[in-house]
Symmetry: C2
Subunit: 333 residues, 2 copies
Protein backbone atom coordinates (compact mmCIF):
# COMPACT_ATOMS: atom_id res chain seq x y z
CA UNK A 1 0.00 0.00 0.00
CA UNK A 2 1.24 3.47 -0.90
CA UNK A 3 2.20 5.77 1.93
CA UNK A 4 -0.41 8.30 2.98
CA UNK A 5 0.20 12.06 2.93
CA UNK A 6 -0.85 13.71 6.17
CA UNK A 7 -2.33 17.21 6.11
CA UNK A 8 -3.14 19.12 9.28
CA UNK A 9 -6.25 21.25 8.82
CA UNK A 10 -7.36 24.28 10.85
CA UNK A 11 -11.02 23.44 11.37
CA UNK A 12 -11.76 26.77 13.10
CA UNK A 13 -10.59 29.15 10.34
CA UNK A 14 -12.69 30.94 7.74
CA UNK A 15 -16.01 32.78 7.54
CA UNK A 16 -18.02 29.54 7.35
CA UNK A 17 -15.99 27.52 9.87
CA UNK A 18 -16.28 24.94 11.22
CA UNK A 19 -19.11 23.61 8.97
CA UNK A 20 -17.52 24.40 5.59
CA UNK A 21 -14.14 23.11 6.74
CA UNK A 22 -15.54 19.81 8.03
CA UNK A 23 -17.48 19.30 4.81
CA UNK A 24 -14.34 20.14 2.86
CA UNK A 25 -12.30 17.59 4.80
CA UNK A 26 -14.93 14.94 4.13
CA UNK A 27 -14.83 15.75 0.39
CA UNK A 28 -11.04 15.75 0.27
CA UNK A 29 -10.89 12.36 2.04
CA UNK A 30 -13.44 10.76 -0.23
CA UNK A 31 -11.81 12.16 -3.39
CA UNK A 32 -8.18 11.41 -2.43
CA UNK A 33 -7.59 7.94 -0.97
CA UNK A 34 -3.92 8.74 -0.37
CA UNK A 35 -4.62 11.65 1.97
CA UNK A 36 -5.14 11.50 5.72
CA UNK A 37 -6.13 14.52 7.77
CA UNK A 38 -5.42 15.70 11.30
CA UNK A 39 -8.37 17.95 12.17
CA UNK A 40 -7.23 20.69 14.57
CA UNK A 41 -9.93 22.48 16.54
CA UNK A 42 -12.08 22.61 19.61
CA UNK A 43 -12.63 19.05 20.93
CA UNK A 44 -16.42 19.16 20.64
CA UNK A 45 -16.02 20.00 16.95
CA UNK A 46 -13.22 17.73 15.81
CA UNK A 47 -13.69 14.62 17.95
CA UNK A 48 -17.11 13.48 16.79
CA UNK A 49 -16.13 14.29 13.19
CA UNK A 50 -12.92 12.25 13.34
CA UNK A 51 -14.78 9.36 14.95
CA UNK A 52 -17.15 9.30 11.99
CA UNK A 53 -14.50 9.50 9.25
CA UNK A 54 -11.76 7.15 8.17
CA UNK A 55 -8.22 8.48 7.73
CA UNK A 56 -9.10 11.39 10.01
CA UNK A 57 -7.57 11.99 13.41
CA UNK A 58 -8.72 14.69 15.83
CA UNK A 59 -6.26 16.99 17.51
CA UNK A 60 -8.05 18.97 20.19
CA UNK A 61 -7.02 22.60 20.70
CA UNK A 62 -8.33 24.93 23.39
CA UNK A 63 -7.94 28.22 21.49
CA UNK A 64 -8.98 29.93 18.26
CA UNK A 65 -7.34 32.93 16.58
CA UNK A 66 -9.96 35.35 15.29
CA UNK A 67 -9.71 37.11 11.91
CA UNK A 68 -9.24 40.52 13.48
CA UNK A 69 -6.55 39.70 16.05
CA UNK A 70 -3.04 41.08 15.65
CA UNK A 71 -1.38 38.15 13.86
CA UNK A 72 2.07 38.02 15.48
CA UNK A 73 0.73 38.74 18.97
CA UNK A 74 -2.03 36.15 18.64
CA UNK A 75 0.44 33.49 17.48
CA UNK A 76 2.74 34.23 20.43
CA UNK A 77 -0.03 34.23 23.00
CA UNK A 78 -2.31 31.46 21.75
CA UNK A 79 0.04 28.51 21.67
CA UNK A 80 -2.85 26.06 21.77
CA UNK A 81 -4.77 27.63 18.88
CA UNK A 82 -5.68 25.55 15.84
CA UNK A 83 -3.31 27.54 13.60
CA UNK A 84 -0.27 27.27 15.88
CA UNK A 85 -0.98 23.60 16.64
CA UNK A 86 -1.39 22.75 12.96
CA UNK A 87 1.97 24.33 12.20
CA UNK A 88 3.55 22.51 15.16
CA UNK A 89 2.37 19.17 13.76
CA UNK A 90 4.25 20.00 10.54
CA UNK A 91 7.33 21.09 12.48
CA UNK A 92 7.29 17.79 14.41
CA UNK A 93 6.86 15.75 11.24
CA UNK A 94 3.48 14.38 12.31
CA UNK A 95 1.95 16.14 9.30
CA UNK A 96 3.65 17.14 6.08
CA UNK A 97 1.32 19.93 5.16
CA UNK A 98 -1.07 22.45 6.73
CA UNK A 99 -4.19 24.14 5.37
CA UNK A 100 -6.16 27.00 6.92
CA UNK A 101 -8.83 29.40 5.68
CA UNK A 102 -8.32 31.50 8.80
CA UNK A 103 -6.35 34.69 9.40
CA UNK A 104 -3.73 34.95 6.66
CA UNK A 105 -1.47 37.04 8.87
CA UNK A 106 -1.62 34.51 11.71
CA UNK A 107 -0.88 31.64 9.32
CA UNK A 108 2.14 33.50 7.94
CA UNK A 109 3.40 34.26 11.44
CA UNK A 110 2.88 30.73 12.70
CA UNK A 111 4.41 29.16 9.59
CA UNK A 112 7.49 31.34 9.85
CA UNK A 113 7.90 31.07 13.63
CA UNK A 114 6.85 27.46 14.13
CA UNK A 115 7.44 25.55 10.87
CA UNK A 116 10.46 27.73 10.11
CA UNK A 117 12.14 29.14 7.03
CA UNK A 118 14.16 27.04 4.61
CA UNK A 119 17.83 27.76 5.31
CA UNK A 120 18.96 30.64 3.10
CA UNK A 121 15.47 31.99 2.40
CA UNK A 122 15.31 35.61 3.53
CA UNK A 123 11.54 35.97 3.45
CA UNK A 124 8.82 33.41 2.72
CA UNK A 125 6.32 34.67 0.16
CA UNK A 126 2.63 34.07 -0.39
CA UNK A 127 1.77 33.04 -3.93
CA UNK A 128 -1.55 33.08 -5.75
CA UNK A 129 -2.42 31.38 -8.99
CA UNK A 130 -4.23 33.83 -11.28
CA UNK A 131 -6.77 32.49 -13.81
CA UNK A 132 -4.89 33.80 -16.84
CA UNK A 133 -6.38 32.95 -20.21
CA UNK A 134 -3.76 30.80 -21.91
CA UNK A 135 -2.35 29.15 -18.78
CA UNK A 136 -2.19 29.91 -15.05
CA UNK A 137 0.20 32.56 -13.77
CA UNK A 138 1.64 32.53 -10.25
CA UNK A 139 1.82 35.97 -8.66
CA UNK A 140 3.98 36.45 -5.58
CA UNK A 141 4.33 37.98 -3.05
CA UNK A 142 0.63 38.73 -2.54
CA UNK A 143 0.90 39.95 1.02
CA UNK A 144 3.46 38.29 3.27
CA UNK A 145 5.96 41.17 3.01
CA UNK A 146 4.59 44.67 2.50
CA UNK A 147 8.14 46.04 2.29
CA UNK A 148 10.71 44.14 0.26
CA UNK A 149 14.33 44.33 -0.85
CA UNK A 150 15.42 43.43 -4.39
CA UNK A 151 17.14 40.23 -3.18
CA UNK A 152 13.81 39.01 -1.77
CA UNK A 153 12.25 39.28 -5.21
CA UNK A 154 15.08 37.23 -6.72
CA UNK A 155 14.23 34.46 -4.25
CA UNK A 156 10.51 34.87 -4.95
CA UNK A 157 11.30 34.28 -8.61
CA UNK A 158 13.30 31.16 -7.84
CA UNK A 159 10.62 29.76 -5.52
CA UNK A 160 7.82 30.60 -7.95
CA UNK A 161 9.63 28.87 -10.80
CA UNK A 162 10.10 25.74 -8.65
CA UNK A 163 6.40 25.75 -7.75
CA UNK A 164 5.26 26.07 -11.38
CA UNK A 165 7.71 23.40 -12.51
CA UNK A 166 7.00 20.86 -9.78
CA UNK A 167 3.27 21.37 -9.44
CA UNK A 168 2.05 22.62 -12.79
CA UNK A 169 4.57 20.81 -14.97
CA UNK A 170 5.88 23.97 -16.65
CA UNK A 171 9.17 23.09 -18.35
CA UNK A 172 11.14 26.34 -18.17
CA UNK A 173 8.98 28.81 -16.28
CA UNK A 174 9.20 32.43 -17.50
CA UNK A 175 9.54 34.82 -14.56
CA UNK A 176 8.51 38.47 -15.00
CA UNK A 177 8.90 41.51 -12.76
CA UNK A 178 5.68 43.49 -12.28
CA UNK A 179 6.48 46.96 -13.55
CA UNK A 180 4.99 49.96 -15.36
CA UNK A 181 6.58 49.43 -18.76
CA UNK A 182 8.23 46.75 -20.82
CA UNK A 183 11.54 48.59 -21.19
CA UNK A 184 14.19 47.90 -18.58
CA UNK A 185 14.70 51.60 -17.82
CA UNK A 186 11.03 51.96 -16.76
CA UNK A 187 9.81 51.92 -13.20
CA UNK A 188 10.14 53.22 -9.66
CA UNK A 189 13.59 53.27 -8.09
CA UNK A 190 12.75 50.02 -6.33
CA UNK A 191 11.57 48.37 -9.55
CA UNK A 192 14.77 49.42 -11.34
CA UNK A 193 16.89 47.86 -8.58
CA UNK A 194 14.80 44.70 -8.72
CA UNK A 195 15.18 44.49 -12.49
CA UNK A 196 18.94 44.69 -12.14
CA UNK A 197 19.08 42.07 -9.38
CA UNK A 198 16.80 39.68 -11.26
CA UNK A 199 18.76 40.06 -14.50
CA UNK A 200 21.98 39.29 -12.65
CA UNK A 201 20.91 36.46 -10.39
CA UNK A 202 17.87 34.67 -11.81
CA UNK A 203 18.38 32.60 -14.98
CA UNK A 204 14.60 32.29 -15.47
CA UNK A 205 14.09 36.07 -15.54
CA UNK A 206 12.28 37.17 -18.71
CA UNK A 207 11.90 40.93 -18.20
CA UNK A 208 9.14 43.25 -17.08
CA UNK A 209 5.49 42.26 -16.92
CA UNK A 210 2.77 44.90 -16.91
CA UNK A 211 -0.60 44.78 -15.16
CA UNK A 212 -2.26 43.80 -18.41
CA UNK A 213 0.05 40.75 -18.77
CA UNK A 214 -1.14 39.18 -15.51
CA UNK A 215 -4.18 37.49 -17.02
CA UNK A 216 -2.94 36.53 -20.46
CA UNK A 217 -0.59 33.70 -19.46
CA UNK A 218 2.37 35.52 -21.05
CA UNK A 219 4.43 34.79 -17.90
CA UNK A 220 4.38 31.70 -15.67
CA UNK A 221 5.51 33.61 -12.61
CA UNK A 222 5.29 37.33 -11.83
CA UNK A 223 7.18 38.70 -8.84
CA UNK A 224 6.48 41.88 -6.92
CA UNK A 225 6.53 43.22 -3.37
CA UNK A 226 3.71 42.12 -1.06
CA UNK A 227 2.05 45.54 -1.09
CA UNK A 228 1.66 45.78 -4.86
CA UNK A 229 0.86 42.06 -5.13
CA UNK A 230 -1.91 42.25 -2.57
CA UNK A 231 -3.44 45.36 -4.13
CA UNK A 232 -3.32 43.75 -7.58
CA UNK A 233 -4.80 40.46 -6.39
CA UNK A 234 -7.73 42.21 -4.75
CA UNK A 235 -8.14 44.40 -7.84
CA UNK A 236 -8.47 41.30 -10.02
CA UNK A 237 -11.04 39.82 -7.63
CA UNK A 238 -12.96 43.09 -7.52
CA UNK A 239 -12.84 43.56 -11.29
CA UNK A 240 -14.18 40.08 -11.88
CA UNK A 241 -17.01 40.64 -9.39
CA UNK A 242 -17.95 43.99 -10.94
CA UNK A 243 -17.86 42.53 -14.45
CA UNK A 244 -20.29 39.80 -13.42
CA UNK A 245 -22.61 42.42 -11.92
CA UNK A 246 -22.60 44.36 -15.20
CA UNK A 247 -23.17 41.19 -17.18
CA UNK A 248 -26.01 40.14 -14.92
CA UNK A 249 -27.62 43.54 -15.56
CA UNK A 250 -27.18 43.05 -19.30
CA UNK A 251 -29.11 39.77 -19.03
CA UNK A 252 -31.95 41.44 -17.12
CA UNK A 253 -32.80 44.15 -19.66
CA UNK A 254 -35.52 42.40 -21.70
CA UNK A 255 -37.40 39.16 -22.27
CA UNK A 256 -34.93 38.25 -25.04
CA UNK A 257 -31.90 38.76 -22.82
CA UNK A 258 -33.54 36.76 -20.02
CA UNK A 259 -33.99 33.89 -22.46
CA UNK A 260 -30.34 34.28 -23.44
CA UNK A 261 -29.39 34.03 -19.77
CA UNK A 262 -31.17 30.68 -19.47
CA UNK A 263 -29.41 29.34 -22.55
CA UNK A 264 -25.90 30.38 -21.60
CA UNK A 265 -26.12 29.87 -17.84
CA UNK A 266 -24.32 26.50 -17.64
CA UNK A 267 -21.44 27.77 -19.81
CA UNK A 268 -21.13 30.98 -17.81
CA UNK A 269 -21.13 29.02 -14.56
CA UNK A 270 -18.02 27.23 -15.81
CA UNK A 271 -16.33 30.58 -16.48
CA UNK A 272 -17.24 31.72 -12.98
CA UNK A 273 -15.71 28.56 -11.50
CA UNK A 274 -12.57 29.06 -13.56
CA UNK A 275 -12.23 32.63 -12.28
CA UNK A 276 -13.04 31.82 -8.67
CA UNK A 277 -10.18 31.96 -6.16
CA UNK A 278 -11.56 28.68 -4.74
CA UNK A 279 -10.59 26.71 -7.81
CA UNK A 280 -6.87 26.77 -7.18
CA UNK A 281 -7.21 25.70 -3.56
CA UNK A 282 -5.55 28.44 -1.62
CA UNK A 283 -2.33 30.40 -1.67
CA UNK A 284 0.94 28.51 -1.07
CA UNK A 285 3.39 30.02 1.39
CA UNK A 286 6.72 29.39 -0.28
CA UNK A 287 10.02 29.32 1.61
CA UNK A 288 8.98 27.44 4.75
CA UNK A 289 9.96 23.86 5.59
CA UNK A 290 6.67 22.23 4.73
CA UNK A 291 3.59 22.69 2.57
CA UNK A 292 1.52 25.51 4.03
CA UNK A 293 -1.54 26.72 2.14
CA UNK A 294 -3.79 29.59 3.11
CA UNK A 295 -7.35 29.62 1.79
CA UNK A 296 -9.59 32.61 1.19
CA UNK A 297 -11.59 33.63 4.27
CA UNK A 298 -14.74 32.99 2.25
CA UNK A 299 -13.73 29.40 1.39
CA UNK A 300 -16.64 27.01 0.99
CA UNK A 301 -16.38 23.21 1.31
CA UNK A 302 -15.22 22.87 -2.31
CA UNK A 303 -12.42 25.41 -1.74
CA UNK A 304 -11.32 23.64 1.44
CA UNK A 305 -11.25 20.26 -0.31
CA UNK A 306 -9.19 21.77 -3.15
CA UNK A 307 -6.85 23.37 -0.63
CA UNK A 308 -6.24 20.09 1.19
CA UNK A 309 -5.63 18.27 -2.10
CA UNK A 310 -3.26 21.04 -3.23
CA UNK A 311 -1.35 20.84 0.05
CA UNK A 312 -0.90 17.10 -0.50
CA UNK A 313 0.28 17.69 -4.09
CA UNK A 314 2.76 20.27 -2.79
CA UNK A 315 4.10 17.67 -0.36
CA UNK A 316 4.30 14.98 -3.04
CA UNK A 317 6.07 17.35 -5.45
CA UNK A 318 8.55 18.13 -2.67
CA UNK A 319 8.38 21.87 -3.42
CA UNK A 320 10.21 22.79 -0.20
CA UNK A 321 12.98 20.26 -0.83
CA UNK A 322 13.52 21.40 -4.42
CA UNK A 323 13.59 25.06 -3.33
CA UNK A 324 16.28 24.25 -0.77
CA UNK A 325 18.32 22.35 -3.38
CA UNK A 326 17.96 25.07 -6.04
CA UNK A 327 18.95 27.73 -3.54
CA UNK A 328 22.19 25.86 -2.92
CA UNK A 329 22.76 25.40 -6.66
CA UNK A 330 21.96 28.84 -8.07
CA UNK A 331 22.81 30.60 -4.81
CA UNK A 332 20.31 33.25 -5.80
CA UNK A 333 21.16 36.67 -4.32
CA UNK B 1 -23.29 84.56 -28.39
CA UNK B 2 -21.54 82.52 -25.70
CA UNK B 3 -17.78 82.51 -25.66
CA UNK B 4 -16.08 79.56 -27.30
CA UNK B 5 -13.70 77.22 -25.45
CA UNK B 6 -10.52 76.59 -27.39
CA UNK B 7 -8.84 73.20 -27.23
CA UNK B 8 -5.48 72.52 -28.86
CA UNK B 9 -5.34 68.97 -30.23
CA UNK B 10 -2.26 66.88 -31.06
CA UNK B 11 -3.28 65.49 -34.44
CA UNK B 12 -0.15 63.31 -34.74
CA UNK B 13 -0.52 61.30 -31.49
CA UNK B 14 -1.95 57.79 -31.07
CA UNK B 15 -1.84 54.45 -32.83
CA UNK B 16 -4.43 55.48 -35.43
CA UNK B 17 -3.23 59.06 -35.96
CA UNK B 18 -3.82 61.22 -37.83
CA UNK B 19 -7.04 59.66 -39.26
CA UNK B 20 -8.73 58.81 -35.95
CA UNK B 21 -7.79 62.18 -34.46
CA UNK B 22 -9.14 64.17 -37.40
CA UNK B 23 -12.39 62.18 -37.35
CA UNK B 24 -12.56 62.74 -33.59
CA UNK B 25 -12.11 66.50 -33.99
CA UNK B 26 -14.88 66.56 -36.59
CA UNK B 27 -17.20 64.68 -34.23
CA UNK B 28 -16.35 66.91 -31.28
CA UNK B 29 -16.98 70.06 -33.31
CA UNK B 30 -20.32 68.85 -34.62
CA UNK B 31 -21.48 67.65 -31.17
CA UNK B 32 -20.28 70.70 -29.20
CA UNK B 33 -21.11 74.06 -30.79
CA UNK B 34 -19.25 75.92 -28.02
CA UNK B 35 -15.89 74.27 -28.76
CA UNK B 36 -13.27 75.44 -31.21
CA UNK B 37 -10.15 73.45 -31.99
CA UNK B 38 -6.58 74.32 -32.92
CA UNK B 39 -5.30 71.28 -34.82
CA UNK B 40 -1.54 70.88 -34.26
CA UNK B 41 0.33 68.72 -36.73
CA UNK B 42 2.21 68.46 -39.98
CA UNK B 43 0.93 71.15 -42.39
CA UNK B 44 -0.16 68.71 -45.10
CA UNK B 45 -2.37 67.00 -42.52
CA UNK B 46 -3.90 69.88 -40.57
CA UNK B 47 -4.24 72.61 -43.20
CA UNK B 48 -6.68 70.93 -45.59
CA UNK B 49 -8.69 69.63 -42.62
CA UNK B 50 -8.98 73.06 -40.99
CA UNK B 51 -9.96 74.61 -44.31
CA UNK B 52 -12.84 72.15 -44.55
CA UNK B 53 -14.14 72.58 -40.98
CA UNK B 54 -15.69 75.51 -39.16
CA UNK B 55 -14.32 76.49 -35.75
CA UNK B 56 -11.08 74.72 -36.59
CA UNK B 57 -7.75 76.45 -37.04
CA UNK B 58 -4.58 74.73 -38.25
CA UNK B 59 -1.29 75.18 -36.44
CA UNK B 60 1.49 73.68 -38.54
CA UNK B 61 4.32 71.89 -36.70
CA UNK B 62 7.41 70.44 -38.29
CA UNK B 63 8.06 67.63 -35.80
CA UNK B 64 6.36 64.61 -34.24
CA UNK B 65 7.30 62.83 -31.00
CA UNK B 66 7.11 59.06 -31.45
CA UNK B 67 5.67 56.72 -28.79
CA UNK B 68 9.03 55.12 -28.07
CA UNK B 69 11.16 58.26 -27.68
CA UNK B 70 12.55 59.21 -24.29
CA UNK B 71 9.84 61.64 -23.12
CA UNK B 72 11.87 64.40 -21.41
CA UNK B 73 14.61 64.36 -24.04
CA UNK B 74 12.12 64.45 -26.90
CA UNK B 75 10.26 67.39 -25.35
CA UNK B 76 13.52 69.31 -24.91
CA UNK B 77 14.78 68.61 -28.42
CA UNK B 78 11.60 68.76 -30.47
CA UNK B 79 10.36 72.25 -29.69
CA UNK B 80 8.24 72.31 -32.84
CA UNK B 81 6.51 68.98 -32.19
CA UNK B 82 2.72 68.82 -32.01
CA UNK B 83 2.82 67.99 -28.28
CA UNK B 84 5.13 70.83 -27.29
CA UNK B 85 3.34 73.31 -29.55
CA UNK B 86 -0.08 72.31 -28.20
CA UNK B 87 1.14 72.91 -24.65
CA UNK B 88 2.70 76.24 -25.69
CA UNK B 89 -0.67 77.40 -27.04
CA UNK B 90 -2.14 76.75 -23.59
CA UNK B 91 0.75 78.52 -21.90
CA UNK B 92 0.23 81.57 -24.14
CA UNK B 93 -3.51 81.60 -23.51
CA UNK B 94 -4.37 80.97 -27.16
CA UNK B 95 -5.98 77.68 -26.07
CA UNK B 96 -7.39 76.80 -22.66
CA UNK B 97 -7.00 73.07 -22.96
CA UNK B 98 -4.91 70.43 -24.71
CA UNK B 99 -5.71 66.87 -25.75
CA UNK B 100 -3.30 64.22 -27.05
CA UNK B 101 -3.47 60.45 -27.56
CA UNK B 102 0.28 60.40 -28.09
CA UNK B 103 3.15 59.52 -25.76
CA UNK B 104 1.87 59.90 -22.18
CA UNK B 105 5.38 60.56 -20.91
CA UNK B 106 5.97 63.32 -23.46
CA UNK B 107 2.61 64.94 -22.64
CA UNK B 108 3.46 64.90 -18.92
CA UNK B 109 6.88 66.40 -19.57
CA UNK B 110 5.59 69.07 -21.91
CA UNK B 111 2.67 69.95 -19.64
CA UNK B 112 4.96 70.33 -16.64
CA UNK B 113 7.76 72.15 -18.46
CA UNK B 114 5.71 74.29 -20.84
CA UNK B 115 2.25 74.81 -19.32
CA UNK B 116 3.73 74.79 -15.83
CA UNK B 117 2.65 73.65 -12.39
CA UNK B 118 0.07 75.48 -10.31
CA UNK B 119 1.94 77.42 -7.63
CA UNK B 120 2.28 75.23 -4.54
CA UNK B 121 1.68 71.92 -6.31
CA UNK B 122 4.67 69.65 -5.74
CA UNK B 123 3.87 67.10 -8.44
CA UNK B 124 1.10 67.04 -11.05
CA UNK B 125 -0.72 63.70 -11.12
CA UNK B 126 -2.42 61.73 -13.86
CA UNK B 127 -5.94 60.65 -12.98
CA UNK B 128 -8.13 57.98 -14.52
CA UNK B 129 -11.83 57.49 -14.05
CA UNK B 130 -12.57 53.82 -13.32
CA UNK B 131 -15.92 52.33 -14.39
CA UNK B 132 -16.97 51.41 -10.86
CA UNK B 133 -20.42 49.89 -10.50
CA UNK B 134 -22.36 52.39 -8.38
CA UNK B 135 -20.60 55.55 -9.57
CA UNK B 136 -17.27 56.47 -11.16
CA UNK B 137 -14.10 56.46 -9.07
CA UNK B 138 -11.09 58.64 -9.87
CA UNK B 139 -7.76 56.86 -9.34
CA UNK B 140 -4.59 58.94 -9.17
CA UNK B 141 -1.68 58.98 -9.71
CA UNK B 142 -1.75 56.43 -12.52
CA UNK B 143 1.74 57.01 -13.80
CA UNK B 144 3.11 60.55 -13.66
CA UNK B 145 5.25 59.89 -10.57
CA UNK B 146 6.62 56.40 -10.05
CA UNK B 147 8.15 57.47 -6.75
CA UNK B 148 6.14 59.62 -4.39
CA UNK B 149 6.29 61.24 -0.98
CA UNK B 150 3.34 61.25 1.44
CA UNK B 151 2.79 65.00 0.93
CA UNK B 152 2.28 64.40 -2.80
CA UNK B 153 -0.56 62.01 -2.04
CA UNK B 154 -2.22 64.62 0.17
CA UNK B 155 -2.22 66.98 -2.80
CA UNK B 156 -3.43 64.21 -5.13
CA UNK B 157 -6.38 63.78 -2.76
CA UNK B 158 -7.16 67.47 -2.79
CA UNK B 159 -6.90 67.71 -6.59
CA UNK B 160 -8.95 64.56 -7.11
CA UNK B 161 -11.69 65.84 -4.82
CA UNK B 162 -11.82 69.13 -6.75
CA UNK B 163 -12.07 67.24 -10.05
CA UNK B 164 -14.91 65.00 -8.86
CA UNK B 165 -16.76 67.96 -7.35
CA UNK B 166 -16.38 70.35 -10.28
CA UNK B 167 -16.76 67.88 -13.11
CA UNK B 168 -18.85 65.03 -11.80
CA UNK B 169 -20.96 67.04 -9.36
CA UNK B 170 -20.03 64.96 -6.32
CA UNK B 171 -21.01 66.92 -3.23
CA UNK B 172 -18.45 65.84 -0.63
CA UNK B 173 -16.07 63.49 -2.39
CA UNK B 174 -14.76 60.60 -0.26
CA UNK B 175 -11.03 60.16 -0.71
CA UNK B 176 -9.43 56.77 0.05
CA UNK B 177 -5.81 55.66 0.26
CA UNK B 178 -5.06 52.50 -1.72
CA UNK B 179 -3.75 50.04 0.83
CA UNK B 180 -3.72 46.36 1.77
CA UNK B 181 -6.22 46.43 4.60
CA UNK B 182 -8.98 48.59 5.99
CA UNK B 183 -7.34 49.12 9.37
CA UNK B 184 -5.10 52.16 9.74
CA UNK B 185 -2.18 50.10 11.06
CA UNK B 186 -2.08 48.04 7.84
CA UNK B 187 0.31 48.62 4.98
CA UNK B 188 3.86 49.18 3.82
CA UNK B 189 5.95 51.78 5.61
CA UNK B 190 5.14 54.24 2.86
CA UNK B 191 1.40 53.54 3.08
CA UNK B 192 1.48 54.05 6.85
CA UNK B 193 3.16 57.43 6.42
CA UNK B 194 0.65 58.39 3.76
CA UNK B 195 -2.24 57.39 5.99
CA UNK B 196 -0.92 59.63 8.73
CA UNK B 197 -0.35 62.59 6.41
CA UNK B 198 -3.79 62.24 4.80
CA UNK B 199 -5.54 61.96 8.18
CA UNK B 200 -3.78 65.11 9.36
CA UNK B 201 -4.03 67.31 6.30
CA UNK B 202 -6.94 66.26 4.11
CA UNK B 203 -10.47 66.88 5.44
CA UNK B 204 -11.96 64.66 2.70
CA UNK B 205 -9.88 61.62 3.73
CA UNK B 206 -12.09 58.61 4.46
CA UNK B 207 -9.55 55.88 5.25
CA UNK B 208 -7.98 52.98 3.41
CA UNK B 209 -9.38 51.57 0.18
CA UNK B 210 -8.47 48.05 -0.94
CA UNK B 211 -8.04 46.76 -4.48
CA UNK B 212 -11.53 45.27 -4.37
CA UNK B 213 -13.05 48.70 -3.54
CA UNK B 214 -11.80 50.30 -6.75
CA UNK B 215 -14.72 49.14 -8.89
CA UNK B 216 -17.60 49.32 -6.43
CA UNK B 217 -17.95 53.09 -6.21
CA UNK B 218 -17.33 52.99 -2.45
CA UNK B 219 -14.86 55.89 -2.83
CA UNK B 220 -15.03 58.89 -5.18
CA UNK B 221 -11.27 59.33 -5.28
CA UNK B 222 -8.51 56.82 -4.50
CA UNK B 223 -4.94 58.07 -4.17
CA UNK B 224 -1.75 56.07 -4.58
CA UNK B 225 1.76 56.44 -5.95
CA UNK B 226 2.17 56.39 -9.74
CA UNK B 227 3.78 52.95 -9.73
CA UNK B 228 0.95 51.17 -7.92
CA UNK B 229 -1.68 53.24 -9.74
CA UNK B 230 -0.30 52.37 -13.16
CA UNK B 231 -0.02 48.67 -12.35
CA UNK B 232 -3.58 48.64 -11.00
CA UNK B 233 -5.01 50.53 -13.96
CA UNK B 234 -3.44 48.12 -16.44
CA UNK B 235 -4.59 45.19 -14.30
CA UNK B 236 -8.19 46.41 -14.51
CA UNK B 237 -7.88 46.80 -18.29
CA UNK B 238 -6.32 43.35 -18.62
CA UNK B 239 -8.88 41.72 -16.34
CA UNK B 240 -11.75 43.18 -18.31
CA UNK B 241 -10.22 41.99 -21.59
CA UNK B 242 -9.63 38.47 -20.24
CA UNK B 243 -13.16 38.29 -18.84
CA UNK B 244 -14.60 39.16 -22.24
CA UNK B 245 -12.47 36.44 -23.86
CA UNK B 246 -13.81 33.88 -21.39
CA UNK B 247 -17.36 35.06 -21.91
CA UNK B 248 -16.97 34.93 -25.68
CA UNK B 249 -15.83 31.31 -25.32
CA UNK B 250 -18.85 30.56 -23.16
CA UNK B 251 -21.10 31.85 -25.95
CA UNK B 252 -19.36 29.66 -28.54
CA UNK B 253 -19.88 26.29 -26.83
CA UNK B 254 -23.15 25.16 -28.47
CA UNK B 255 -25.98 26.14 -30.76
CA UNK B 256 -28.02 27.26 -27.75
CA UNK B 257 -25.26 29.52 -26.42
CA UNK B 258 -24.74 30.99 -29.90
CA UNK B 259 -28.42 31.88 -29.99
CA UNK B 260 -28.04 33.43 -26.54
CA UNK B 261 -25.15 35.51 -27.87
CA UNK B 262 -27.38 36.95 -30.61
CA UNK B 263 -30.09 37.83 -28.11
CA UNK B 264 -27.87 39.54 -25.57
CA UNK B 265 -25.37 41.14 -27.95
CA UNK B 266 -26.80 44.69 -27.90
CA UNK B 267 -26.96 44.72 -24.07
CA UNK B 268 -23.44 43.35 -23.74
CA UNK B 269 -22.15 45.93 -26.21
CA UNK B 270 -23.39 48.62 -23.81
CA UNK B 271 -21.47 46.99 -20.94
CA UNK B 272 -18.36 46.91 -23.10
CA UNK B 273 -18.75 50.61 -23.88
CA UNK B 274 -19.22 51.39 -20.21
CA UNK B 275 -16.02 49.52 -19.32
CA UNK B 276 -13.98 50.94 -22.19
CA UNK B 277 -11.27 53.47 -21.31
CA UNK B 278 -12.50 55.52 -24.29
CA UNK B 279 -15.78 56.36 -22.62
CA UNK B 280 -14.33 58.78 -20.10
CA UNK B 281 -12.31 60.67 -22.68
CA UNK B 282 -8.76 60.42 -21.47
CA UNK B 283 -6.84 60.93 -18.29
CA UNK B 284 -6.69 64.43 -16.79
CA UNK B 285 -3.30 65.72 -15.71
CA UNK B 286 -4.12 67.56 -12.49
CA UNK B 287 -1.90 70.25 -11.03
CA UNK B 288 -0.89 72.15 -14.19
CA UNK B 289 -2.15 75.59 -15.18
CA UNK B 290 -4.62 74.46 -17.81
CA UNK B 291 -6.74 71.51 -18.83
CA UNK B 292 -4.46 68.80 -20.18
CA UNK B 293 -5.94 65.41 -21.07
CA UNK B 294 -4.05 62.38 -22.27
CA UNK B 295 -5.94 59.76 -24.27
CA UNK B 296 -5.16 56.06 -24.57
CA UNK B 297 -2.71 55.26 -27.38
CA UNK B 298 -5.42 53.10 -28.94
CA UNK B 299 -7.97 55.95 -28.99
CA UNK B 300 -10.45 55.77 -31.85
CA UNK B 301 -12.41 58.76 -33.20
CA UNK B 302 -15.08 58.37 -30.48
CA UNK B 303 -12.41 58.44 -27.75
CA UNK B 304 -10.78 61.53 -29.25
CA UNK B 305 -14.13 63.34 -29.48
CA UNK B 306 -14.86 62.45 -25.84
CA UNK B 307 -11.39 63.63 -24.83
CA UNK B 308 -11.84 67.00 -26.52
CA UNK B 309 -15.26 67.45 -24.95
CA UNK B 310 -13.87 66.48 -21.54
CA UNK B 311 -11.01 68.96 -21.92
CA UNK B 312 -13.56 71.69 -22.64
CA UNK B 313 -15.64 70.67 -19.58
CA UNK B 314 -12.49 70.78 -17.47
CA UNK B 315 -11.86 74.33 -18.68
CA UNK B 316 -15.47 75.39 -18.07
CA UNK B 317 -15.43 73.88 -14.57
CA UNK B 318 -12.22 75.82 -13.88
CA UNK B 319 -10.59 72.79 -12.27
CA UNK B 320 -7.13 74.40 -12.28
CA UNK B 321 -8.44 77.62 -10.73
CA UNK B 322 -10.34 75.82 -7.99
CA UNK B 323 -7.30 73.65 -7.19
CA UNK B 324 -5.17 76.79 -6.81
CA UNK B 325 -7.79 78.40 -4.54
CA UNK B 326 -8.25 75.27 -2.39
CA UNK B 327 -4.52 74.89 -2.03
CA UNK B 328 -4.36 78.38 -0.58
CA UNK B 329 -7.35 77.70 1.70
CA UNK B 330 -6.56 74.26 3.10
CA UNK B 331 -2.83 74.74 2.63
CA UNK B 332 -2.60 70.97 2.23
CA UNK B 333 0.80 69.61 3.33
Amino acid sequence: MAELTTIAVDVMGGDSAPRAVLDGIAQALSENPSIQVIACGLPEVVEPFAAAHERCEAHACSEVIAMDEHPANAVRRKKDSSIVVGCRLVKEGRAQGFFSAGSTGACLSAATLVVGRIKGIKRPALGQILPAYEKPTLLLDVGANADCKPEYLVQFGLMGAVYMHQLMGVDSPKVGLLNIGEEEEKGSEFALECHKALAEHLPAFAGNAEGRDLLTGEFDVVVTDGFTGNVVLKTVEGASKTMFRYIKDAFMTSLATKLAALLVKPSLAKVKTKLSPDTYGGAPLLGVKGAVLVGHGSSNARAVANGIAKAAETVEADVAGVIAAKLGEEGAA
